[in-house]
């Protein structure tokens, strides 16, 4: 990847792009895994294939884009420059890519060595990233809710991966820890404190900016990130206390507290989705573009996941059905976060390419129109493929025998198409970059 993008200027395009181009490959692998494992994958959230699929999407697809985008968002949005960004990007990209592949292999084989190696690589990769990001942000005052949110999200990332590493080591060395509770706490931190807090922090900037909407309301942005993280801390303590309580009474009390705190967390995340939908309705754009549809689909999917959680907690028949956590996870990962990530890539990638070419052309060669860097039709087509895949995976959780193979195929198609769109953007970048190089080379020769 480095050879393709050797342009060396701060913030260099090569730093985030290696993450963006790797992400859809994990999506394709998720589709292949679904084809290989078939309907059995959906039997419960604890099947080896379900755990492998979850991590292909979260540690593979989602984490790649989130870290790659953060490398650019920190300087562009917060003015926080990551030192030696290319070196950080190389180290983080290599370790989390191999670490995720090892983790997936570990879930499929349950080989202790693979869990330990995955823990080492993912732990080191994320530690290097968080260290670089904290250094970059250390000189930046939390002047806005975005910067404060970015800082909170890094705490969320560190704790999520910290618990993940502990879980891997527990499996690798057969340690005696409450595995299932820790897995829930890992998921809670990853979903709420890392992903949702980051999404909101970035959303405060990119939703009004790219979707021409009013700003997120002040009352919401002020309390959201800090409250969500505080609730995750309290909820985690209640969950852990319930799992180690030595009397049935204490365990029941703690479980009730965890349920109440969990309900507040779900309500708060749902509030973010509702506020986003509300300001999206006030967009001044005449016709929604792909990014807006993807954001709206994501928010509706997150709301559906929240309603399902509520139903499972209050209706025993649904709560006893082993498929509900699978369906809830699928709604969040495939319908929610994947959609919003694809939507953001369609703004971030053309913007970064445009900015880089604009700077390199030094006003002598005008950068191509940002809207032409990825063709609108290509984005619209891929968006439909993405929604079709997400819907098929959601319904495959309900009817695995019928739909798991079509869902796997659809995932491969949508991610391959995403990769093609990103590569098309890269070829625009390279063609225009070559024009700039020959223009300046010609002048030097004269």
């Amino acid at each position: 990847m480095q050879a393709l993008l050797s342009y060396d200027q701060s913030p260099p395009l090569a730093a985030p792009f290696r993450f963006f181009l790797t992400a859809p490959v994990f999506g394709i692998l998720a589709g292949l895994l679904l084809l290989a494992s078939g309907p059995d994958l959906f039997a419960s959230r604890w099947t080896p294939a379900a755990l492998a699929l979850t991590h292909l999407m979260t540690a593979g697809f989602m984490l790649q884009v989130m870290l790659g985008a953060l490398l650019q968002i920190l300087p562009v949005v917060a003015g926080a420059n990551v030192e030696r960004p290319l070196r950080v990007a190389s180290a983080v990209h290599l370790t989390i890519t191999i670490g995720t592949l090892l983790l997936v292999a570990a879930f499929l084989s349950f080989a202790p060595l693979l869990f330990n190696l995955a823990a080492l690589l993912l732990g080191v990769g994320v530690l290097v990233f968080v260290g670089a990001a904290v250094r970059a942000l250390s000189g930046v005052a939390s002047t806005g809710y975005t910067i404060a949110g970015l800082k909170w999200s890094l705490v969320g990332l560190a704790v999520t991966v910290g618990i993940g590493v502990l879980l891997c080591l527990a499996l690798g060395f057969s340690l005696n820890v409450p595995l299932l509770t820790l897995a829930d706490v890992h998921l809670g931190w990853g979903f709420f404190a890392w992903a949702t807090v980051l999404l909101a922090a970035v959303g405060y900037v990119v939703v009004p900016m790219f979707q021409i909407t009013p700003a997120y309301p002040e009352w919401f942005a002020r309390f959201f990130a800090g409250t969500l993280v505080l609730l995750v801390v309290l909820w985690s303590l209640a969950e852990l206390a319930a799992s180690v309580a030595d009397s049935a009474l204490a365990a029941t009390g703690m479980a009730r507290a965890a349920l109440l705190l969990g309900a507040l967390l779900v309500a708060l995340a749902a509030l973010f989705a509702l506020v986003t939908l509300a300001i999206q309705r006030r967009s001044r754009r005449a016709r929604f573009d792909a990014t807006q549809h993807l954001w709206r689909g994501a928010m509706l999917s997150m709301l559906a996941a929240g309603l399902l959680w509520l139903a499972a907690m209050s209706v025993p028949r649904i709560g006893e059905w082993p498929g509900w956590p699978v369906l809830c996870g699928v709604l969040l990962v495939f319908g929610g976060f994947s959609s919003v990530i694809v939507g953001m890539l369609y703004k971030i990638v053309p913007f970064l390419i445009w900015l880089d070419l604009q700077n390199r052309g030094q006003r002598r060669l005008i950068a191509p129109n940002m809207k032409k860097i990825i063709a609108e039709r290509a984005m619209g087509g891929q968006m439909l493929a993405h929604f079709a895949a997400a819907i098929l995976v959601v319904f495959a959780a309900l009817w695995p025998e019928l739909l798991s193979y079509p869902a796997g195929l659809a995932l491969i198609v949508s991610h391959a198409w995403l990769l093609r769109n990103l590569l098309a953007a890269l070829s625009v970048y390279r063609a225009h970059g070559a024009k700039i190089d020959s223009l300046f080379a010609g002048e030097h020769a004269q």
Binding site: V77, G144, M209, F210, I212
Partner: protein, 82 residues
């Protein structure tokens, strides 16, 4: 205290990126020595600062009432005390 009026004003608050950047570049092409360009945005334009530095412009950003950011830009050779 009210500042001296800028010779050119771009209100980028309702524009989709990179429109404010593009318009600023075009306006700077025509900005004469001693003149000031005022760019009003919803947030600080960090990528713009890099370009301004390369192009030999100086700037000062100020947060206005309501959280909007006013960026005043002038030629670095002006040595203006803004």
């Amino acid at each position: 205290m009210e500042r001296a009026a800028a010779e050119r004003v771009i209100d980028g608050r309702e524009m989709e990126p990179p429109e404010p950047f593009v318009q600023t570049m075009a306006a700077l092409d025509e900005l004469e020595a001693g003149q000031t360009l005022l760019l009003r945005l919803r947030r600080e334009p960090f990528p713009l600062y890099q370009a301004l530095e390369r192009m030999g412009f100086a700037w000062k950003a100020e947060v206005a009432a309501g959280g909007d950011v006013d960026v005043r830009i002038w030629q670095a050779t002006d040595r203006k005390e803004n």
